[in-house]
């Protein structure tokens, strides 16, 4: 088991490195033209371009630039803005890149480095800082929703599988169909309307995000609606999947063996049946959670949670390169990390994986 975990860990590190390399290439190497020309403004003099190039590090070899990028990514962008930003800060528009105002640069907020996450073109804040603020919001949203959809989805799936072709099965699968078909934005708006406009306890529920550290109760009440709305879709999927898997598993020979041993049916289902039917769900779960890190856009928008999904859309719409880089890297990390977790949990659940 130890060997296996180490192997998976190394693999994950490698994947992360490859992802950062791809990101670097896609965002910094592939765009045509010399970036320093764009940064040097409308009337670039050769001297200015050379200066920008030097200060951006573009005069160095690509591997060096990449190393630079990596360092910035993991360790932050340094304390001061590089000098080059001061002359640049007056420039209103850098070709098709967007406004780079004095604001952020003049105050010397950390994080304007290039390459690296740098400064958002759009909001003039450091991307890194933005990510640090937004990540907990999205994680809170995902965490709560994941707990709900797992518990609800798996329970409904189990009941449905065991009471196959009864009224309970029909009801459960009806719910699943509703959950899968109902669009999140509609569901979210309806939920908001019912719970905050129509019902008396509207004060305690709300939109927006309250930090857990400041007000745990507020954190919970503000998130309960988005959790439920987000979880509904997934709960429906998981209910269907659990049902299908469990029905298949209960037909396996080893289930018959468990019964032939004289085990009570409850134990046959929960110890022998569920364990085998949950392993595929672990894989799904890991990927779903990871993808939601950058993908809970609608829920975040409807409930006004300034999370990563939100940020991803904003930055994509306004071609905010540094912000996009940041989101892409974080989502990639999340996927790699969740894959690692899934692999380890899977190996724990299914010994055959460990030994192969």
């Amino acid at each position: 088991m130890g060997r296996y975990v180490i192997r998976r860990l190394l693999w994950t590190v490698l994947v992360v490195l490859v992802v950062t390399l791809l990101t670097f290439v896609v965002f910094y190497v592939m765009p045509p033209g010399n970036p320093s020309v764009r940064f040097a403004g409308k009337q670039p003099t050769p001297e200015l371009i050379a200066q920008v190039e030097k200060q951006l590090g573009l005069d160095r070899s690509l591997p060096e630039q990449y190393a630079h990028f990596l360092r910035r990514l993991f360790l932050g962008d340094g304390t001061e803005c590089p000098l080059v930003y001061r002359p640049l800060c007056s420039i209103e528009s850098v070709e098709n890149f967007v406004v780079l105002d004095t604001g952020g640069c003049a105050t010397g907020v950390s994080g304007c480095g290039w390459p690296g996450l740098g400064m958002s073109f759009d909001s003039r804040t450091a991307v890194r800082q933005e990510l640090i603020e937004r990540t907990p919001r999205t994680l809170s949203l995902i965490f709560g929703a994941a707990v709900i959809w797992l518990v609800v989805g798996v329970s409904i799936g189990v009941i449905s599988a065991l009471k196959r072709r009864t009224i309970w099965d029909r009801l459960a699968m009806g719910f699943a169909l509703f959950g899968i078909s109902a669009p999140v934005f509609w569901l979210g708006l309806v939920a908001l309307w019912i719970f905050t406009v129509k019902l008396p306890f509207s004060d305690s529920l709300g939109t927006g995000y309250v930090e857990f550290g400041n007000d745990p109760v507020g954190w919970f009440t503000h998130l309960i609606l988005p959790w439920t709305v987000l979880a509904l879709l997934y709960a429906a999927f998981y209910a269907r999947m659990t049902r299908g898997n469990l029905i298949d598993t209960m037909g396996e020979d080893y289930i018959r063996t468990a019964r032939a041993k004289g085990l009570p049916e409850r134990r046959v289902i929960f110890k022998h049946g569920l364990r085998a039917s949950l392993t595929p769900i672990v894989t799904m779960f890991g990927l779903d959670v990871a993808l939601l890190v950058g993908g809970a856009v609608i829920t975040e928008t409807v409930f006004n949670i300034q999370g990563l999904g939100n940020y991803a859309v904003q930055s994509a719409v306004s071609a905010d390169l540094p912000a996009m880089t940041g989101v892409v890297v974080i989502v990639a990390f999340a996927v790699a990390f969740m894959n690692l977790v899934v692999d380890i949990v899977y190996a724990y659940l299914d010994p055959r994986v460990r030994y192969s």
């Binding site: 192997r7 190394l10 693999w11 490698l14």
Partner: protein, 357 residues
Amino acid sequence: MSQLAEPRTMTAERPGGDALVSVRNLTKRFPITRGIIFQREIARVHAVEDVSFDIFPGETLGLVGESGSGKSTTARLITKLIDATSGSVVFDGQEITGYSRRQMRPLRREMQMIFQDPYSSLNPRQTVGQIIGSPYAIQGGERNVRRRVQELMNRVGLNPEHFNRYPHEFSGGQRQRIGVARALALSPKLIICDEPVSALDVSIQAQILNLLEGLQQDFNLTYLFISHDLSVVRHISDRIAVMYLGHVVEVGSAEELYENPKHPYTASLLSAVPQGTGGGHHRVVLAGDVPSPIDPPPGCVFHTRCPKARMVSGSPDEVPENCRTEFPPLGEVEPRHLAACWYPLKAGEELRQAAHR
């Protein structure tokens, strides 16, 4: 591997007559790789090791062995579904070992296969007519495909009017008849039957076996008949090769091999078959399981379980040194009866049960 010796001549096996298939020193090792980025080979599955035999026109050669003995791999090597690690296969006078896919194409019609599972080896979306007729299309087309297919269907005992039916409308035995008809369609020289009756009910098995025998007479077919069922193999084969852990350990006429086995493995295998005579017969129960083909025992691969070696050494825990160190060559023990054993059984010699378990 020391047993990869120079090719031996096998003509002693059956003097006169040119073999349709000549297999010499055929070896297949599947690499097992491990590694995160760079796959390095950590071990090899010794699936087929230094196998040599001939199949003569018009005969049925039975290939028996337990699971993992390399029977099916041998068949796949002969048909070149997989490439051999070393050794040669001569089919109808042509050395096909190095043939490319394209070079093999004209030969494909000459060698056909019948598979174990009639359910999964037929395309469920094709009608019987299409399935049986498809070789004509693949091989360049033929007029009156339908008439030809219906003749074939009639010959294998299917109702020709069922031309447009789908496989699921047929019973297991009938599906195997479809498989036989498909194999026959191009009048092949060699038909490889890979466990063709193992998935069928007993009462149906006999129908298919009789059909195969009848077709062989009518069309002068040559069969390589692979099975783990020793009774079936004996019934249908003229000669039999016994495989154990990738090696052919004994080859002989069906009669000779069953009445007078020379290799201790063959003898143990035969004694393990239920005779249907009410117990009581002398049974040599081999201890333990077949060793892993990844790490086969040195010397004779059977020495770890061999009762005869223990009789020779006189102790249940010891075997003679040459059994442990050197693989015995497949040599002629009696005329046309070959065995790979240092201490082949004499006629009538009984194996005593090995003492250790």
